[in-house]
Amino acid sequence: MRLVDKRPKVSRREVLAAGGAALVAATVTPAGVVMGKAWAATPAALKPETFATLVQMSRDIYPHDNFADALYATAVEGLDKAAKGDAGTKKLLEDGVSVLDAAAQKAHKMPYDQVGWELDRVILLRAIEKDPFFQKVRGHLVTGLYNQPKVWTLLGYEGESASKGGYIDRGFDDINWI
């Protein structure tokens, strides 16, 4: 069978920097830049701290251990853009993160993006999964995350095929184990 290479098409330095962290390690600079591992973002509408928490929340909603944080940050950039265009969306996201942080403080005495175990963070998310805030973030991620060509590569999806002549000579029927 012709197998698909799921390794990311990035440099060695980026791979090393991306690591496989359960926790998204991001810091906010005095200039308002969110600095992560091998990624950085300057939010246009959201507070940098809000942006960083949304990146962590995005990973917890759709956790893929071979995805670099940068892919989740790219997805959150779409939310930031929506917040820039709509005050209601901005308020929904800012307020939502505040409520989530308050719940984390109550349960764990620390903000959401510092809670160490994924399961503990997921419990906090399950408590708000029907809320418009959570639905907004999750709904956005369906395309914001999974419609990124870099994500397709990591999941082993080959994308466009017509320009390569389709699969007639590239393994449409090459299964050899059935």
Partner: protein, 523 residues
């Protein structure tokens, strides 16, 4: 006369919609020398506009005008604003269809007689039978180039099919093959053979897949007797004092209202827009909507019992490579009440790319339960389940009480409650679909809920008696002699099979009926 036609030319037949019904009808009328104007609400996207990219193509060709939903069906919860997944473009939903072309079984034309009275179901026999349809099915199969008919070989099986076939064999299913598909397995009728591209739903890049866009409309236009007017959204069908229709009012691409006169009008806007147009065409003479003396316009909306089963294996499959739906198990399509439900269903291979699978595998799901499934994408196989659902009067297209479209007309609401027969059939199909994959070593299976409706049927149903339905056996309105319905909304019942072949066959038959009546001077 020759195309293009003057808007005041009242000798033309106006066809509303250019999909399987309207596109076929318009082309066949033109080929038979009849001056025809097709008004298509969407734009014209030729093959070069098609992209192997799911969301951009969805945005480009889907019918995204606002609609609302109600009822207990899961689509109303998962996709409240998108009850139907159909195309607004020249070619209609034949641009994105998968190509499965199956004839009805004899008993499916006689659903009421065969299944008997079922509580809550408005079952009715079709006023036609398989014998009457056979020559039209044969003509349609030849036109469309359906594999396994007319000495056309079947498509080769892709990896997704080979999984299905191995599982079917283990379960003892006897009727499993690569389907009867309107996709060229070899070059035919000036169209190429399939290159196993995948992306059948995004418009075929080689033209191997039959659509009215690439196969029928060009033939009709070549006669000089067919004008296809895109970006023409019909708002109202007009009539004279005698109750005959005289033409249609439509909005052009700039939103300006135009009037096209007509000798006859054929409605083929799919099972949501067709009844909506008839209801929006109410007048003092027809206060409940055009052709609606029976009160049946918009009722008995059917959308097929559907669902999908995806499975993960410990080794790669690459289900997305090759023809999307070239694989079928037909053993469960029979009517066998010992299974606990009436009617039957087909199991057909299906694959989605990562973008669509993320949206449709389990809408609303999140966390590792979901992402771990996506992680196994290369090792997935998939099938679609499609069976006959019960018609119910309360399942209906109605005009929204307050919301209006860009032209000031009420938008449609789509109400659907699953019948208990639909639910029993779906549960059986989920079990059998999972069993097919379990038989060949699936490590995990997913009973995926229905997608927005691709098979929209029954809202202007065909009936022997005028009180039972909207149109007669020719698709002619019981109430209005020169008004026809030419799409899947005429289906009296839904049958288990994908509907396109039957829609095309009915459209060809209707074209010849219209021609005969014009020759006799009765139209």
């Amino acid at each position: 006369m020759a195309a293009p036609y003057d808007k005041n030319d009242d000798s033309v037949v106006v066809v509303i919609g250019s999909g399987a019904g309207g596109g076929t009808l318009g082309a066949e009328l033109a080929i038979n020398g009849i001056d025809t104007v097709i008004l298509e609400a969407g734009g014209r996207h030729e093959t070069e506009d098609f992209e192997n990219d799911e969301w951009p193509m969805f945005s480009k060709i889907s019918w995204l005008d606002k609609r609302t939903t109600s009822g207990s069906w899961r689509v109303a919860q998962d996709f409240a604003g998108l009850p139907a997944w159909i195309v607004k473009a020249v070619g209609g939903s034949t641009v994105h269809w998968a190509g499965a072309s199956l004839r009805f079984q004899p008993h499916e034309f006689k659903a009421h007689t065969t299944y008997g009275d079922i509580a809550g179901a408005s079952l009715l026999d079709w006023p036609i039978d398989l014998k009457e349809m056979e020559p039209w099915y044969a003509k349609a199969e030849d036109r469309m180039g359906v594999t396994r008919t007319n000495d056309i070989p079947g498509l080769p099986g892709n990896n997704n099919f080979r999984i299905m076939k191995a599982g079917a064999d283990k379960l003892g299913y006897k009727e499993c093959h690569t389907g009867r598909m309107a996709i060229n397995s070899q070059p035919r009728h000036d169209r190429a053979g399939c290159q196993q591209i995948g992306f059948c739903f995004q418009g075929c890049k080689t033209g191997a897949k039959w659509s009215t866009l690439v196969a029928e409309i060009p033939k009709g236009e070549a006669t000089g007797k067919l004008e296809v007017r895109p970006n023409a959204q019909v708002l109202k069908i007009e009539h004279d004092k005698s109750g005959k229709v005289t033409g249609v009012l439509y909005a052009d691409k700039d939103g300006n209202q135009q009037r096209q006169k007509a000798r006859a009008v054929c409605v083929a806007g799919n099972s949501i827009e067709s009844p909506r147009l008839l209801l929006n065409s109410a007048s003092s003479m027809f206060p409940d909507g055009l052709a609606n003396s029976s009160g049946q316009v918009g009722r008995n909306y059917m959308r097929h019992m559907t669902g999908s089963v995806y499975a993960v294996f410990d080794k790669p499959v690459h289900m997305y490579r090759g023809t999307t739906m070239a694989g079928i198990i037909m053993d469960e399509a029979k009517h066998d009440p010992t299974r606990g439900f009436a009617a039957g269903y087909e199991m057909e291979t299906l694959s989605l790319g990562v973008p669509f699978l993320a949206a449709f595998l389990d809408p609303g799901a999140w966390g590792r339960e979901f992402s771990s499934a996506m992680d196994m994408y290369p090792n997935m196989a998939g099938m679609w389940l499609v069976g006959e659902d019960m018609p119910q009067e309360k399942n209906a297209i109605t005009l929204h009480k307050s919301e209006k479209d860009a032209h000031g007309l009420p938008i449609p609401n789509v109400h659907f409650d699953d019948h208990e027969n639909d639910i029993a059939m779906r549960n059986h199909a989920y079990r059998q679909g999972a069993a097919v994959y379990d038989a060949v070593g699936a490590t995990r299976t997913f009973p995926t809920p229905p997608y927005p409706s691709t098979h929209n049927l029954g809202t202007n149903r065909m009936s022997e008696k005028p009180g039972d339905g909207v149109v007669n056996k020719w698709g002619q309105a019981h109430d209005v002699k020169n008004l026809f319905v030419s799409d899947g909304s005429v289906f009296t019942t839904g049958a288990a099979e994908n509907p396109t072949l039957t829609i095309v066959s009915l459209a060809l038959r209707q074209a010849h009926h219209i021609k005969d009546r014009m020759a006799k001077g009765t139209l």
